[in-house]
């Protein structure tokens, strides 16, 4: 009988000690949770893209709750809805979010571009780029293995016919694809800027022509046509100054290779 009693005693004692330890620990070692933090975190989309400049949505929400960050319009994927929600939680006026969209500075699909060699390695842009900047003849081309496609949280960028394309409707402007591309071909533009240059190659026109029929040859027709001094050819590549561009699309019509595009 004493064995049974001692068994019951020991079990109760161990249970009591454990629960006491846990109760004490949870009381004295509790981490004070700011009430505003969960409320603000709820307003954010949770993509953890880093477009706001903080380490994920948690980071931005913590900064806002602690008061070290005043701007409520840093969340690009969340757009105006998130900014308004955050503003209402914090009790400040909502700020406008500049809506951004990603675009790929390459138009070299399988029919228009040439290969340097046949690649049979890992199906990964980063890996392909390590081998003499990829299999395409152009050194600044889209490698087409879909690293951007895999990281996009909004399913907005896909590789079609060997080149990546962004769907402006689905794109939230978080910028994760831009950080992922090993050739740094993806840029962010404001949603209101519809004209883009679909090439990143700075080699001279003849070399570009041999590599890809869709590449910018630096002929300067766009520069001469633009009435707003918004597009210039620098280093054999057309570049748009978005502060001056009004989106008229005149340059698009005169480009002989079709590297300019109006969305």
């Amino acid at each position: 009988m004493s064995g049974v009693i001692s068994a019951i005693w020991v079990l109760c004692a161990i249970g009591a000690v454990c629960s006491l330890l846990l109760v004490v620990a949870s009381k004295y070692m509790s981490v004070p949770v700011d009430e505003k933090f969960p409320a603000i975190r709820e307003c954010l989309p949770g993509a953890n893209c880093g477009a706001c400049g903080y380490a994920g949505c948690d980071g931005y929400a913590k900064a806002l709750a602690a008061g070290t960050e005043e701007k409520t319009n840093l969340c690009v994927p969340g757009a105006d809805a998130a900014a308004a929600a955050i503003a209402s939680v914090l009790g400040v006026e909502a700020q406008d979010v500049v809506e951004m969209r990603a675009y790929v500075r390459c138009n070299g699909d399988c029919e228009k571009s040439k290969h340097k060699y046949e690649y049979a390695g890992i199906n990964n842009c980063f890996a392909a780029n390590l081998l003499f900047q990829g299999e395409w003849a152009c050194p600044n081309s889209c490698l087409g293995y879909g690293d951007c496609e895999r990281i996009c949280p909004s399913d907005a960028i896909h590789v079609y016919n060997g080149v990546a394309r962004v769907d402006p409707v689905k794109c939230t402007g978080c910028g994760m694809c831009a950080r992922q591309c090993p050739n740094h071909l993806i840029d962010l533009r404001r949603q209101v800027d519809p004209v883009i240059v679909r090439c990143s190659n700075t080699q001279n026109g003849a070399t570009v022509r041999k590599a890809c029929v869709n590449g910018c040859i630096g002929c300067k027709k766009c520069e001469k046509t633009c009435a707003h001094d918004a597009i210039h050819v620098v280093d054999n590549l057309a570049r748009i100054d978005y502060d001056k561009c009004v989106g008229c699309g005149d340059c698009v019509g005169v480009c002989p290779v079709g590297v300019l595009q109006k969305l």
């Binding site: 989309p45 949770g46 993509a47 953890n48 994920g56 949505c57 949280p153 909004s154």
Partner: protein, 231 residues
């Protein structure tokens, strides 16, 4: 009565714990070396499942939600200790065959998972049949694997040597053989179900793919990541 039979058959076929829910594979792979071990383990598992399911179902309105997992573990551990003592006293060979996996029934995903998924939400009699069904399903799968592994791996069946040892595929009785047999059995199931027009993709009962049977689903890192990305 029909509902009870349905619950029973559910545990054996539609929601077989080892092949469909993919829970409790540790013990399944380790014990299925001998048929005797499988039958013994299956019996022990069934006993623990039935008893713990019944007790937890009976206490389901009393146990507070916050500490339910420790409470379930205490109940299950009690029955496991009971089984351990009975097996050690009356079936020494079985005790040696099962080794460490007998006390490990406590943390077997099947028992805890069924307690969380079924017993905490259903009546005592329903839980009894669920425990019985799950236990029988588990025993069946283990015995199937053990039949092949013991016969071709060690050449014996229930201790009687049938195939001479020189002609056995020794690897089947060891660890790699266990993994391989389990993979092949699962592939066979997928193929068989596909033939009948039912598409089935086995997914781990725990981890980033599916949390169908895991009692700790709300604390799992895989689920937290899914919530974090919001996609």
């Amino acid at each position: 009565m029909k509902r009870k039979m349905q619950i029973l058959l559910n545990g054996i076929f539609r929601e077989n714990p080892v092949l469909i829910l993919v829970l409790g594979c540790c013990s399944a792979l380790a014990i299925s070396v001998t048929v005797l071990g499988s039958l013994g383990m299956g019996a022990a598992m069934t006993f623990v499942l039935v008893c713990s399911n019944m007790v937890i179902a009976a206490l389901r309105k009393v146990i507070p939600d916050k500490i339910r997992i420790p409470c379930y573990i205490i109940v299950i551990a009690t029955f496991v200790t009971l089984v351990e003592m009975i097996v050690k006293a009356y079936m020494q060979t079985l005790y040696d065959a099962l080794g460490i996996f007998l006390p490990l029934i406590v943390v077997n995903c099947i028992v805890l998972g069924r307690a969380e998924m079924f017993a905490s939400k259903n009546s005592v009699s329903d839980s009894l049949f669920d425990g019985l069904g799950m236990g029988i399903g588990y025993t069946l799968v283990l015995t199937c694997m053990a039949l092949v592994r013991e016969l071709f791996g060690a050449g014996s069946l229930l201790g009687h040597q049938i195939i001479p040892e020189e002609y056995t595929v020794r690897i089947l009785a060891q660890t790699p053989g266990g993994f391989f047999m389990f993979g092949c059995l699962m592939a066979l199931l997928v193929w068989g179900l596909a033939r009948h027009g039912k598409k089935f993709k086995p997914e781990m009962g725990c981890g980033e793919n599916g949390c169908s049977g895991c009692a700790m689903a709300d604390k799992c890192p895989g689920n937290e990541q899914k919530e974090a990305t919001g996609v």
